[in-house]
């Protein structure tokens, strides 16, 4: 298994839209890479290429072959005819022994505060709880690469920050490669080892922020996070001017 996932000069057109043109990127094994950028800039397409759900029109993607992938989609994508625990069991059944399965399901449902709902059907959950269940499912599934597509979008701010912290904790227990797409700069700065700021379509990397600060020392009001935050924000603001020039 190669240690690095690499995009080399990747082109991708979806329908009439040229989403990626000569896009390159690397993710080291076991690092948390965050992608931030304006909506519609191709972040989701990058994840789909990483997951093998889409193939590049031109260019090369290396280092993803044979990787076991977990993917938290923008939507929960739950099976409404299975219970909370049943949805977890669904993805684990082929790869984990029955005893271990029960253990994993209980562990992750407890972590996400869903354990007491284990016998409920998704219809009985709130939107945020469904999204947390989708996160549980992805984390419990044995994976080498974890892809997250704005997983906390529908959650309120305190819960969101709590989950970001928890995700960081879990990564420490099982340091898999993680690619985290968000448009919340704060999430990216609290979680990422590296944060890439992407331009509007076709995506290009505007800025790379390397953060080797341990997670527990990261505080949004303490340097260097505020200055990164300010710089990234002004870059993104300049990007939005391309689409809204009259403001």
């Amino acid at each position: 298994m190669t240690a690095v996932i690499r995009f080399e000069n990747v082109h991708k057109t979806l329908g009439q839209t040229r989403v990626l043109e000569g896009f390159s990127l690397q993710a080291k094994k076991g690092e948390i890479l965050c992608l931030v950028g304006p909506s519609g800039c191709g972040k989701t397409t990058i994840l789909q290429l990483l997951a093998g759900l889409e193939q590049p029109d031109a260019g090369r993607i290396t280092g993803t072959k044979g990787l076991k992938v977990s993917y938290v989609f923008q939507e929960p994508r739950l099976l409404l005819w299975k219970t909370v625990a049943g949805n977890m069991d669904f993805v684990l059944r082929d790869s984990v022994s029955p005893a271990r399965r029960q253990e994993l399901i209980a562990k992750y449902l407890r972590l996400m505060g869903l354990y007491e709902y284990r016998d409920n059907y998704p219809k009985a959950l709130s939107g945020g709880m469904m999204q947390r269940l989708a996160l549980c499912r992805a984390l419990a599934f044995p994976h080498d690469l974890l892809l997250l597509d704005e997983p906390f979008k529908s959650l309120d701010m305190p819960l969101r920050l709590g989950l970001v912290r928890q995700l960081a904790q879990m990564w420490r227990g099982n340091p898999s490669t993680m690619v985290f797409v968000t448009h919340d700069l704060m999430e990216a700065l609290l979680l990422g080892h590296r944060v890439l700021v992407l331009s509007a379509r076709p995506a290009a990397i505007l800025d790379t922020v390397d953060l080797d600060l341990p997670f527990e020392q990261r505080n949004i009001s303490r340097e260097p996070l505020p200055s990164h935050y300010g710089r990234m924000l002004s870059l993104l603001e300049a990007e939005s001017m391309k689409f809204l020039p009259n403001l």
Partner: protein
Amino acid sequence: MKNSIFPTRGLTPLFGLAVFIAFWQLISGFYSHVIIPSPAEVAHTLWALVVSGVFWEQSRHSILRGLLGFCLAVAAGTPLGLLIGLNSVAASLLRPLVVVLQVTPLISWLLLAMIWIGFSRVPVFVVFVTTVPLIVINTIQGVKSIDRQLLQMAQIYRISKPRVIREIYLPQVAPYLLAGVSNALGVTWKAVAMAEFLSVQQGIGASMAVARINLETAALFAWTLFLIGLGLVTDRLLVSLTNRKLKHWM
């Protein structure tokens, strides 16, 4: 309140029924009992048929034939619908055939079956050919309605194909299949009586043929009422069975 003149909502349909029976009683007064027998006469005939055992003796043939044809149609139609829905080659090959099957007149099947397979098996065959397109077409529609996003999710988590069919396709096809089954069940009792009328000596349809020859119009009405009841009961049964199973997620 729309229904405020009625004590409960449950009584409203009964009231409708009462009006209908009163109207029937009224009309029957103007005509001979051979044309339109009165409700009391029909009830009396129905009772006599039940008490004499004729009723059960005849209707059990029809019920068995109907259920056999219907079950064969579900057993054959479901996999066929899945195949056509999932596989584009199978779709272009078989879909026209299913449509032809659907639009072929009942009478053609009846007469051809009498020539091909002998009279005794005609009712089962006719029920089968008239209900199988309903099952197939509804199943195809169910497959078309499958949520692609869930399939993508299953692909990511490397769920095996048989499990994807069983745990993603089938639960989503189920409501469509049930609609098909419900339609098919409605058609079953009509088709079985029709086929028996022309092809066999026993059964509801055959008894109706005899009643017609003997100008026993009250018996015709009685058998008709029984067929209506059979349709209603089996439909209710299906609805209550499926509601129990599907209430969590539909």
